[in-house]
C-alpha cells in the first residue's frame, strides 16, 4: 500500500493506492481562501496546507480502511510548485516515513498529471500524447513509457488556467476563473468578439496566452463598465473559444508530426466542457483514441502522485532525511491581475 501527498499549489491532497487501484483520493480545496485575491497567494496557500496536511492524510487512510501499518512507502510531490506549499507536504511525508523507516518517493508534479492516466479502471498504456493545462502549467507531453515524458511544447508566458483566472477577474466573474467563465459563456456568442489567434504562425508546439488576456482587457475598456455588464457572456464565450482553439490547434499539429495513437488530457483546464468536446471531435477526425480521466484526477490530486510514484525511484531510510523540495514559478506578489 502506498500513501501519497500532494501540496504543490492550493489543494491539500492525500491518497492511498494499492498498485494502480485508488483506495482513497481526498482533496481539500482552498479555493475559498484565495477567492478574495483572484489568484493563489503563496503564503496563504502554505498556511492552509499546514492546517490541513495531517487531517487530510488521516482522512485518506480512514476512507481506504487502512492504518499506517499497511503503508509500505510514502510519496510526495517534490516540485515544481510553490516552495512554501511543497515544504509542508514533503516535511509531513518525511516525518511519517522516517518514524516507520519507510522509503520516501519524491514525485515530479507534471509526471503526476501524466501518470493519472495509468490508474485503474481502464489504464492507458504509453505511447500517448498528453495535453496538460492548468493554472500553473500548460504543456504538451510525449509519453513513451511510464517513467517520464518528452516536453514537446509549453507556454511561453501565462498558463491557460492563469488566463482564465485573470480574464474572469476582469469580467468580475470571481475565482477560480475556469468554471466561472464556462458558466458565463454558455449564454454567449463565441464569435462576438475577435480574439488574437496566438502562435498560429509559430510552427512549433509552444503556447502563449498573455495576448488573449490583454485582448480581454482592451474589450473591457472599450465596452466600459455598463457594456461589460451587458456583453459579459459574449466576451467570456469569445475568450474561451480562443483558448480552446489554441490548445486544440497545437494538439492537432502535434498529432500530425508525431504519429500518436492516443491522446490524454490533464490539469484543471481539462475539466473545461468545451475543451473536452473540441478535443473529442479532433480525435474522432484524426482517428486517434481519446482518454479522459474523471475531473477529480485532472485537477491536482494525490492519486496521480501515487501513480507516478510506482515508477519513480524510492529513497530508502535514512537517505532522505535531508531531502529538500524544489520550487519554481513562485512570485513574491500574489498572482492577481492588475
Amino acid at each position: 500500500m502506498l500513501l501519497a501527498i500532494e501540496t504543490s499549489c492550493d489543494d491539500t491532497c492525500a491518497a492511498v493506492l494499492d498498485g494502480p487501484r485508488i483506495l482513497s483520493n481526498v482533496i481539500s480545496s482552498q479555493a475559498k481562501a484565495h477567492e478574495g485575491f483572484g489568484g493563489v497567494v503563496p503564503e496563504v496557500a502554505a498556511r492552509h496546507h499546514l492546517e490541513l496536511a495531517t487531517p487530510v492524510v488521516e482522512a485518506a487512510l480512514a476512507e481506504a480502511g487502512m492504518t499506517l501499518d499497511d503503508v509500505e512507502a510514502v510519496a510526495a510531490t517534490a516540485g515544481p510548485g510553490l516552495i512554501g506549499a511543497l515544504l509542508v507536504g514533503i516535511s509531513t511525508a518525511k516525518g511519517i516515513a522516517a518514524a516507520r523507516r519507510l522509503p520516501l518517493i519524491p514525485v515530479d508534479h507534471l509526471q503526476g498529471h501524466v501518470a493519472a492516466n495509468f490508474l485503474e479502471p481502464e489504464p492507458l498504456e504509453p505511447p500517448f500524447l498528453c495535453l496538460i493545462a492548468s493554472g500553473g502549467h500548460t504543456l504538451l507531453a510525449g509519453v513513451r513509457d511510464h517513467e517520464g515524458f518528452e516536453l514537446l511544447g509549453q507556454t511561453l508566458d501565462d498558463a491557460a488556467g492563469e488566463a482564465f483566472d485573470k480574464s474572469a477577474r476582469l469580467l468580475g466573474l470571481g475565482y477560480p476563473g475556469g468554471p466561472a467563465i464556462q458558466r458565463e459563456a454558455e449564454g454567449g456568442d463565441p464569435e462576438a468578439f475577435e480574439m488574437p489567434v496566438a502562435m498560429s504562425r509559430n510552427p512549433g508546439l509552444d503556447f502563449s496566452f498573455s495576448g488573449l488576456k490583454t485582448a480581454v482587457l482592451y474589450r473591457c475598456r472599450e465596452l466600459g463598465p455598463e457594456g461589460v455588464e451587458e456583453r459579459k457572456a459574449d466576451v467570456a464565450a469569445s475568450f474561451q473559444a480562443a483558448v480552446v482553439g489554441q490548445l486544440t490547434a497545437k494538439l492537432k499539429r502535434a498529432l500530425k508530426v508525431g504519429e500518436w495513437d492516443a491522446v490524454a488530457l490533464g490539469g484543471g483546464v481539462a475539466a473545461n466542457g468545451p475543451l473536452r468536446e473540441a478535443v473529442g471531435k479532433l480525435c474522432e477526425e484524426m482517428g486517434v483514441q481519446l482518454k479522459l480521466v474523471p475531473i477529480s484526477l485532472c485537477t491536482d490530486n494525490a492519486a496521480m502522485i501515487g501513480s507516478a510514484a510506482r515508477y519513480a525511484k524510492p529513497i530508502p531510510y535514512p537517505d532522505y532525511l535531508g531531502y529538500d523540495a524544489f520550487a519554481s514559478g513562485e512570485s513574491a506578489t500574489p498572482a492577481v491581475a492588475h
Binding site: E43, L50, A53, L87, I90, G95
Partner: protein, 224 residues
Amino acid sequence: MDTVACCWRDGEVLHESQLGLSPQGRPLHATRLLEEVERAAASGGGWEEVDMLAVGLGPGTFTGLRVGISTARGLALSLGLPARGVCTLDALAVGIAEAGAEGERLAVLDGWRGDVFAALYSPDGERIWEPAVYRPGDLAERVAALDRAPAVAGSGAVRFRQELARDGVRIADDSDPVHRVAGRHVCALAAESTEEDPDGLAPIYLRPPDAERWRERDASQRAE
C-alpha cells in the same frame, strides 16, 4: 532561524543540538531538522522510548515554523505520540532566567523586515506582555516606561542592541548562548504544561500574509 533538537528525560538532557545557518547563510530546517530529531530520539533509546514530542510554535520565519510543525505532526501521527507546542519566546525567557536574571525578562526575537517579536515575563515566569510585533524604537520606549530595566536577550536584542540597550538595559555579548533558543527549554515547558492544545500545534505567526495587508490597503485607498 536556528535548527534545534533535544532529547529530555525528567530534567536530564540526553542530547541537544543547535544548528545555525548554512555556510551560504540559509536556514537548515528542511535539510537538517529531521536528521537531528532522529539523532535525539536515538540518544534516548529510540522512538519506542519517547513519550511526547515538544515543538516550538514560533514566532519565527514562516517557512521554518511550517517545516518544524509539519515534521512534528508527521512524526506524531506516524508514532501515535502526543505533541505539545511551546511558544518560542517562552522558551527563550526560560533561558534568560537560567543565565541568572532575577528580575523581569524580555525575550526578543529578530522578526526581519526591521521588526522584532517580543514578550515580557515576570520573575516567576508569568507573561506580562503577550507576544507581539514591535518596531525596535517602540519596544525601547515601552521598556523605558517600566519601573525597573528587565533582562533582555534573543536574536532581536542582538540585532537591535543600539535601540534597546539604554536606560539601564544590559544585553550580553553577541556570542552569549543566552540569545539562542535551546531545545531543553522547549522540552521543559512542554513537560510542565498541563494544557491540552485544542488547535493541534497552531503556529504563532504574529503577522498576516503580506497579500492580506495589500488587500486591506487597496480597500482603504478605494474607500478614500
